[in-house]
Structure formats: structure tokens, C-alpha cells
């Protein structure tokens, strides 16, 4: 939803939840905080300034506080200017990459993991390990980086066969990084080597990958 809004041209998003322990839906606000944090990370990774996304808490009785939160956020966005100014990437490129964030956030992987984190923080994971906040964000950070890069690579390789160096140039990622992802995708049968051009092996997304997208 948050990524969707930016794809549709929003300049900033603020999500306000109730205070912890005060939620009608019991853990809705905890989930909300993690989800907003995740969206913020994914969007930052595709080039957005993280200041454009905010999460805060406020109860229905704190009207004044609510106004203050919104005003401060609004001022912040005004200072940044419209989308593409004050962000890591500029407009045409940023616009192009925002849909990747949307795809990554919509896919089962991130949705599943993020859904699990409220459980991880209380009961623990399948091995009974209870996660601290720090551990949770560290883990999410890695997964986000991998997911976004994977989707970017699959998008390019779905269109044409490319060598690792071409791919790296297009995605502005270090070639050794791209190589590892390509090899990992090959292992998952989502990418195939379709031939060698001079000294460059070329890779293309498999039918399975194209269908899944």
C-alpha cells in the first residue's frame, strides 16, 4: 500500500497507530510498526529518502498531539520537496525503480517474514529463539536487499539475455554481487545460462520465473 502510493505520485506517507497495549486489534499497531519499517527499508533501497515514510503513535484522545505530528511531518516533506529531490535517485530513475519496491513488498516472501516477526519477538521462531528489535531489523535488512536485487535481476533477464557485467551496469550494483545472485537464481531454476558470447556467459530468466512474475 505504501509503495503503491509512491508509485502513484505521493511525496510522503505517515502512518499513525494507537499506543502499544492500547490497540483494539491487540497487536495491530505492533504489526503496523514493523510493516511501515519494512516498507521504509525497501523504498530506501530503491532510492527514496527514508524521511518520506514515518510511523508514529497517538490515541484518539490526543487530538492536539495528532495535529502536531502531522504538521511536523508535513513540514519535513515540504523541506525535501517533491519526489525525486532530496532522494538518493532522481526522478525518471526513481519512478522506474519504485515498482520494484511494490513487487517486492507484495510477494509472499516479505509478507510472510514480516508477519512472523511479531511471533518471533514474543514466542520465538521455529527453534524457540526470541528476537530482539536489533536482530529483527538486521534480519529484515538482509532479506530486503536480497529480495529487491533478485526482483530487479529477474525483471531485466525476463526481457533479454544478459551477461553479468551488463546487468551490473544497468542495476548499478557491484558485479560480484550480481554474479552471486545470478548463480543463486540459476540454482533455483529461475535463471538459465543460454550461451557464451566471447568470454561472457549470458543468462536469461526461465519460463517458470516469467510466469511467476
Amino acid at each position: 500500500m505504501i509503495a503503491e502510493a509512491f508509485v502513484n505520485g505521493a511525496d510522503g506517507i505517515m502512518v499513525v497507530g494507537c499506543h502499544f497495549g492500547d490497540c483494539h486489534y491487540i497487536t495491530g499497531n505492533v504489526q503496523g510498526k514493523i510493516k511501515v519499517g519494512l516498507a521504509e527499508r525497501v523504498l530506501t533501497y530503491v532510492g527514496l529518502n527514508p524521511k518520506r515514510v514515518a510511523f508514529d503513535q497517538c490515541s484518539s484522545a490526543e487530538g492536539e498531539r495528532f495535529v502536531k505530528l502531522v504538521t511536523t511531518f508535513n513540514e519535513g516533506i515540504r523541506e525535501l520537496g517533491p519526489l525525486g529531490t532530496g532522494d538518493r535517485l532522481e526522478l525518471p530513475e526513481l519512478k522506474e525503480r519504485l515498482p520494484i519496491a511494490r513487487t517486492a513488498l507484495a510477494k509472499e516472501k516479505l509478507r510472510w517474514v514480516v508477519g512472523k516477526f511479531t511471533v518471533f519477538a514474543t514466542e520465538g521462531n521455529k527453534y524457540g529463539e526470541v528476537f530482539t528489535e536489533h536482530e529483527m531489523w538486521r534480519t529484515l535488512d538482509t532479506i530486503v536487499m536480497d529480495e529487491v536485487a533478485t526482483h530487479e535481476i529477474l525483471r531485466e533477464l525476463g526481457q533479454e539475455a544478459l551477461a553479468v557485467t551488463d546487468l551490473a551496469n544497468r542495476l548499478k550494483l557491484p558485479p560480484p554481487h550480481v554474479l552471486r545472485y545470478v548463480l543463486a537464481l540459476q540454482r533455483r531454476e529461475l535463471v538459465d545460462m543460454v550461451g557464451v558470447d566471447g568470454s561472457s556467459p549470458r543468462y536469461k530468466a526461465t519460463d517458470r520465473a516469467v510466469q511467476a512474475a
Binding site: 528476537f131 528489535e133 536489533h134 538482509t142 536480497d146
Partner: protein, 561 residues
């Protein structure tokens, strides 16, 4: 049943060939391999094969089909015993968490797995996912498994297996008390270990591959300091009821007090007998005050004692009380007397005035005994005791402190930061120098005759041995010499007819799980069991011994009932 049973350890190409050969010869063969797949190491190492395929070809098909061969992959030996020419191995097969009978090799799991991780099996070429398959050639379609670490590398490297990942993350969350509680689940000495530990965990830390390792030791110190500096009372959590049995502990050092602490947690009172006037062992008398202040140490020890531990100082076993008395009066005896006897150099003139061993020198300095510290002192040795002795000598007022070591700085066993600190304080190092003879006048040392060395060819273990350069003798003039070349335990306090199994290093031989000696009811850990080692290992083993003691007493109680 008359078939001879053979175990082959190692499922590389050579191991597979050997297993087949043995099975063909009529043996019943079990092949045990530690990785999830067979057939590694496929290239010959004793000949050059110039052809298109120099690969060795292990016949995995034949191996799988052979009726006399059983293959166990992903398995390690936990324990091995031998008696009358027969062997028994306890094997642990790590769970794959995947039922290969049901798996259809659709690869959906590895497509959805969110974890890309360093691929140990392929030496980091490419990634693997947390669930992945291995070597499709070995099994029907490769063996799937979920790779879950037993512990992160820091925790696995720590002798006490402290849950570093959790306590560091709790600090990052600002939860200091919770963090300290995690440490104390396995270690009562957060303040002390946080100051003195050479932290092998940091050398293993993965972050070291990209910039610098996490300062784990200092983090531990921080949470412990935070509690002490803010005058927070450390929690004393013991069971409501203690068992009637009492345990005698000999030695109030890192091992003994850790043992006492965890005995209390398990509901056992203990009495700690200490020969010295104050508790702490090597923490108190071995480690210099500038690294671990007595006040800080005592803060920690008093807290440990408040768990229902009785301390009797100035009580030497074998003199003030006999060992047999303890065996008679207590349900179990724990020996943690450390290693306090400095090794002799074995050169002429060593008995002269001015020559002292490292541990004794540090002990006397820690007890505030003043000696005439003037002129030049030579420290022999390259370990942490040598560094401590050098830095203490410098503080005591020697004009010049020289460390003499027979190899080079690279080979020094001391922690690099201790060497740096010593150098920083102006201590001089002489490398590739070995002592030959202490020379003196009327029984008082005046200098040390030395020989220059050079590093020779590496031996089978790969270490380059120092060899003397002929005719390179020279004399370093000095009034004092500290020999810090190692120390040994002194176990003379136990009765000669006690029947204890003592190793040639003067240490107790114990069961590595329970830390029980060969004499039932007597346990041992710390330097007196390992030989000189780092403090955290003594603490870790002291804890394991406590668990062993608790189990021993419970078994005895059950048998009596």
C-alpha cells in the same frame, strides 16, 4: 555375525574406494562422513594425470547398492571408546529436517527461502539458501537439508558458549539488565571476564571479514559496569529450598567460584576452601591490579558468595584440613586449585638472588610486597604472563624492562593488544634470543648470557623452529630476571594412595562431560585440569563440573532410596 565390522571415516573418493574394497573382501562396512554428501576431493595428489579427466571416479552407485555397506552422512563422532580390540563410537547424525522419502525435488522450498547465506560447502562460491540440496550425484536427487547453526560462530568459539548474539542485541535495544542476565546464565564473572578475557570470540567474529570484529568483551564489561556504577543490586536467584548435601570446593578461583555459583543455582550449598588470605585465585593474585582492580573483583565475588556459598580463606588442604576429611564430610569434592608453580628455565645460575618466576612475581606484586626494583629487569617468555610481568615491573619502577623471546613477534602467544600496550609503555623487546646462563657475583645475578637464534625450516606441524646461531653469544647486564615460560599445577596436597589419575603435565584426568576424576565423587576443572589456560575456560568448566556434581549427588540419592 562372524563378519568383521569395519568403520571407514571420511566419504571422500579415497574413503569410498576403501569402503568398497573392504566390503568386497567380506567385511561389514559402515561409512561415516561429516558433510551431507560423499565424494569430495576428487583430484589425485600423488601423481599427475594428463588426460581430459584426471578426476577420481568414486563408484557411488556400487557403494549405495552394496549389501555390506551402510552409509551415514552428516554425522560426527561424539565419543569413542575401545576395549579388547573392539571399538564403540557414539555418533551424532545432524538432522536434515527434511524427510527424503517424501521429498519430490520440486525445489519450491529453495525458491521461497528468504535467506541467502555464505556457502561453506562451496567455499563461498555462490550462495546457498537455508534449505538447499547437496551434490545431486550422491543420492536420488541430492540430499536436502535445512542449515541451522547450533550456535553463531562467536558463541561456538567462546569456551563458555555465552549467547553473545542475544546479549549484544539486547544492549543495542537498550536492555542492559536483560543482557547481563543472559550472560549470567552461563557465567557469574561478567565484571572480571569483561576486563581480562583475550576474547577468542572476537577473532572469530564474522564482521572481521568486512571491517573490524565487534568489541564483544568490552560490551560484556559495559553491562556489568553499568549495574555496578549505578548501584543496582545484582539479582540473587536461588531455589527456595536447598538440598541437604553439601559440596567442598578447593580453591576460590575462577573455576571454584563458578562451580559454587552454579551449585547454588542447582540448590546445593558449598564450602570453598582457599589457601591464600583472599579469594579470587589467579583473578586476584595473577592478574595485575591495573587490568582487574581488587575492588571490582570483590564486588563480584561477594555477590557470588551471597548465593549461599561459604568461604574459608587461609585454609590449605593437606595442611590445615586433610583431603580425606573433605571426602568423608561432603557429598562431593571439587578441585580447582589452578596452576601456580612457575617452570624453571633449566639453565645454570637460576638459583641466584634476583631470579624469580613470573607467577610468583605477580603474586607478590599483587600482595603489595615491595622488593628492591631498580636498574634493569629481563623477562623471559612471550605469553600473557610475560606481558603482565613486564608491565608490572615497569610500574614498580625498574629503569629498563627487557622482554627476551626466542622466536619473533609473530609467534608470540600473548594477545597482540597486550604486546602493543607493553611496547607503548616503553618496554623493550629482544626477539630471536635464547637464554644460556645466568651470571652473577657472590650469588647475586649481574647479567644473562644469551644466544642469538634464527628460524629454521618448518617441521611437520608447519611451525618454524628457532635454531641457535653458533658463536653469537652475548650478555645482557641486569640485576633481575623473571622467567615467565609457563606454569604447572601442584597436586601434592592429595594423598599419595588416593588413586588419582594424574597426567604427565601434573593435571587431573577427568571425564570431559561431567568433569569427574577417576575417583567417584571427586571433580576437577580449571588450570589444574587443563594446564595453564584462559580464565573463561576455567569458569566454563567449573560450571560444567557443577552440573556433573549435581547429577552425581542425585544419582547417589536415588540409589540410597
Amino acid at each position: 555375525m562372524s563378519k568383521k565390522r569395519i568403520i571407514v571415516f571420511g566419504g571422500d573418493a579415497a574413503g569410498v574406494a576403501a569402503a568398497l574394497q573392504q566390503a568386497e573382501a567380506g567385511m561389514q562396512v559402515t561409512l561415516v562422513e561429516s558433510s551431507p554428501s560423499l565424494g569430495g576431493e576428487l583430484l589425485p595428489q600423488t601423481k599427475i594425470v594428463d588426460g581430459d579427466s584426471p578426476f577420481l571416479q568414486p563408484d557411488l552407485e556400487a557403494l549405495r547398492k552394496h549389501p555390506n555397506i551402510e552409509v551415514i552422512t552428516n554425522a560426527v563422532v561424539v565419543k569413542s571408546m575401545s576395549a579388547n580390540g573392539k571399538y564403540t563410537f557414539q555418533i551424532k547424525r545432524n538432522t536434515p529436517r527434511v524427510d527424503m522419502e517424501k521429498c519430490t525435488d520440486c525445489k519450491e522450498c529453495i525458491r521461497v527461502c528468504p535467506i541467502h547465506m555464505y556457502d561453506d560447502f562451496n567455499e563461498g562460491v555462490g550462495f546457498r539458501t537455508a534449505i538447499d540440496y547437496f551434490n545431486p550425484e550422491t543420492a536420488k536427487w541430492g540430499e536436502y537439508n535445512i542449515f541451522k547453526e547450533d550456535m553463531p560462530i562467536c558463541q561456538a568459539t567462546c569456551p563458555a558458549n555465552l549467547n553473545i548474539r542475544s546479549y549484544a542485541a539486547l544492549i543495542a535495544d537498550g536492555k542492559y539488565a536483560e543482557s547481563l542476565a543472559v550472560i549470567r546464565q552461563r557465567l557469574p564473572f561478567a565484571l572480571s571476564i569483561g576486563r581480562v578475557c583475550p576474547h577468542p570470540c572476537e577473532s572469530a567474529c564474522n564482521r572481521g571479514y568486512v571491517d573490524e570484529p565487534i568489541a564483544i568483551c568490552a560490551l560484556k564489561r559495559f553491562v556489568a559496569d553499568y549495574e555496578m556504577h549505578n548501584q543496582i543490586d545484582p539479582p540473587v536467584e536461588v531455589p527456595d529450598h536447598f538440598h541437604p548435601e553439601k559440596v567442598a570446593i578447593i580453591g576460590a578461583g575462577p573455576a571454584g567460584l563458578s562451580c559454587a555459583f552454579f551449585l547454588a543455582k542447582a540448590g546445593y550449598h558449598s564450602v570453598v576452601f582457599e589457601a591464600m588470605p583472599e579469594p579470587g585465585g589467579m583473578f586476584r593474585y595473577g592478574i595485575p591490579e591495573y587490568r582487574l582492580p581488587t575492588k571490582t573483583l570483590m564486588h563480584e565475588i561477594n555477590w557470588i558468595l551471597s548465593h549461599g556459598v561459604e568461604l574459608r580463606c587461609d585454609t590449605r588442604i593437606g595442611k590445615d584440613t586433610s583431603f580425606e576429611d573433605l571426602q568423608r564430610d561432603y557429598a562431593a569434592v571439587f578441585i580447582g586449585v589452578g596452576a601456580w608453580t612457575g617452570m624453571k628455565l633449566g639453565i645454570g645460575g637460576e638459583e641466584m638472588e634476583g631470579v624469580v618466576d613470573g607467577v610468583r612475581f605477580l603474586r607478590e606484586a599483587n600482595m603489595g610486597k615491595k622488593v628492591d626494583m631498580k636498574g634493569r629487569v629481563i623477562i623471559i617468555g612471550g605469553g600473557n604472563v610475560a606481558m603482565d610481568a613486564a608491565r608490572v615491573s615497569w610500574r614498580e619502577g625498574f629503569d629498563e624492562v627487557h622482554v627476551v623471546y626466542r622466536r619473533t613477534r609473530k609467534e608470540m602467544p600473548a594477545s597482540p593488544w597486550e604486546i602493543d600496550a607493553a611496547e607503548h609503555e616503553g618496554i623493550k623487546f629482544q626477539f630471536l634470543v635464547a637464554p644460556v646462563e645466568v651470571i652473577g657475583d657472590k650469588g647475586r645475578m649481574t647479567g644473562l648470557k644469551c644466544l642469538k637464534m634464527e628460524l629454521g625450516e618448518p617441521d611437520a606441524s608447519g611451525r618454524r623452529r628457532p635454531v641457535p646461531i653458533e658463536g653469537s653469544e652475548f650478555v645482557i647486564e641486569a640485576e633481575n630476571l623473571i622467567a615467565a615460560i609457563g606454569q604447572r599445577p601442584d597436586v601434592k596436597f592429595i594423598p599419595e594412595d588416593g588413586g588419582f589419575d594424574i597426567t604427565r603435565w601434573n593435571t587431573f584426568a577427568v571425564d570431559q562431560e561431567t568433569f569427574q576424576t577417576n575417583v567417584p565423587g571427586v571433580f576437577s576443572a580449571g588450570d589444574v585440569e587443563t594446564g595453564p589456560d584462559i580464565a573463561i575456560r576455567a569458569c566454563a568448566n567449573g560450571r560444567k563440573a557443577a552440573l556433573g556434581i549435581a547429577r552425581h549427588i542425585e544419582t547417589k540419592r536415588r540409589q540410597a532410596a
